[in-house]
């Protein structure tokens, strides 16, 4: 049920981010979703891609610092209140969210949230019980 997310360490220097995205492009990696966390000296680029194993291989070979993290992809209604319901569900189950970001399908009424939480098992249980659809890794990679 968990999705592999690549986290890429990107120093705040001209060309660093571009080198990473170019590398992915040249290796035919399709980015499904991403977010960037930034600080004064560096950023962390978080990516959901069609082929995380290949992407991680390519980046490692280029000596880019990365880590792979298991995250949850949950389907939320693409309407006002959709995100609020999902977050409330986690809050009630006493689960902290470290970070999250969203993406939408090309067609259809659904939006998806990528969640990084402190305890994946507990979060999966709470969301499932709350009636949310959890996306399988295969589904996410092939969206």
């Amino acid at each position: 049920m968990l999705v592999k997310q690549l986290s890429v360490f990107v120093e705040n220097k001209p060309g660093k981010l571009s080198a990473v995205t170019r590398l992915l492009a040249d290796n035919n990696i399709d980015i499904r979703a991403f977010s960037v966390a930034d600080s004064r000296d560096f950023g962390i680029l978080r990516l959901i891609v069609n082929d995380p194993d290949k992407a991680s291989e390519v980046l490692k070979a280029a000596e880019v610092t990365i880590s792979v993290t298991n995250v949850i992809a949950v389907c939320i209604g693409d309407r006002p209140g959709g995100l609020a319901e999902a977050v409330e569900c986690l809050y009630k189950a006493n689960i902290s969210v470290e970070y999250m970001y969203a993406f939408v399908e090309k067609s259809g009424d659904d939006a998806y949230a990528i969640l990084r939480v402190e305890n994946n098992d507990k979060a999966l249980e709470a969301l499932t019980e709350g009636g949310f659809t959890i996306l399988s890794a295969e589904k996410v990679y092939s969206i």
Binding site: A37, I44, R116
Partner: protein
Amino acid sequence: MENYWNKEIECMSREDMKKLQDERLVAQVKHVYENVPYYKKLMDEKGVTPDDIKSTDDLHKLPFLTKSDLREAYPYGLLAKPLADCVRIHSTSGTTGKRVVAFYTQHDIDIWDDCCARAITAAGGTKEDVCHVAYGFGLFTGGAGLNGGSHKVGCLTLPMSSGNTERQIQFMRDLGSTILCCTPSYAAYIGETLHEMGLTPDDIKLKAGIFGAEPWTEEMRREIEKSLGIKAYDIYGLTETSGPGVAFECSEQSGMHINEDNFIAEIIDPDTGEVLPEGSKGELVFTSITKEAFPLLRYRTRDICVLSRKKCSCGRTLIKMTKPMGRSDDMLIIRGVNVFPSQIETVLIEQGYAPNYQIEVDRVNNSDTLDVYVEMNEEQFTDTVKGIQDKEKALTAAIKQILGISPKVHLVSPKTIARSEGKAVRVIDKRKLHD
């Protein structure tokens, strides 16, 4: 008119000074040979006995002493007097590794105070002055040295220590400080703060400053003189030989007179150890000929400078040294603190990092900055900003623990630190410390 603290010594003929040095050197060599097994061993290994040293002409026969000897002999190995006769300890910064501990008898303190009194007098100080000592007090020699010298001259002494700059200026104004003693970068900072407070040099009574413990340029001197409305004098010293006051500047402001009655200076080729003639640029070596508790013979300072006996307009005959023009080792002086890259490297290894790092030193608004770039490996990379910042904070704290000053640590990707010919460039010093 030039004032002298001890005219007889400061203006002594070369001939008389040599005679005094000869006598003192012979006695000192005998003293250490008999009382310090470490020296006896060094001299025996070189096949020199006290009988071989009949005058300063024989100085070159003695073995050199280096900082690594001091470390090896830490803490008591070079002590030449019983601890019961010692009254004080000073130490260089750093809590491990390169620490140096120096011991003083009361006689040593008296001589040190006397050296600093000469510096204060040469800067125009008399018992009528109010001497504001804003060097750090504690194990660091700066505060204690100038404080002692100021007492000896009879100045009203303000043992301010450093920090709390607005309060420093308040005291200057309320108590009419006339002489300021501190590091040159702190003097520059006081000058800036004065102007930020909306004040001018006319609002304070300072007339002179005695600044040392770190390298500074002529440009910085002019800046400080202008911002504080004073004449700025350089002072030189190192904990190993006593502290500030080994050499001091006079009204000519063109190099520092070495207190030759206490310290014999030589310039050597740092690679071969060969003694170089007067006027050559090389490494400064000191022999303390009056120190009782911690007498160092031919101690290699690692400071590069030039000695000159050119006649000085102030009337002093004491030999002059230029400001240090660099180092023959990789030591950096940052905010007055001695820093070796290897100290930082040790911390990185202890904390589980590979020794791939770069130290960048700069001077921003007259204050030194220390940035340490460290390559992290994949295991050390967590995918949250906080995770990385926590690691940076932990490293900062560990380095501060060792150096006594706080760096700014930046974790960077592996293999991103510039390497030339496969060897990483460890230090980038962007400060302009030498003219």
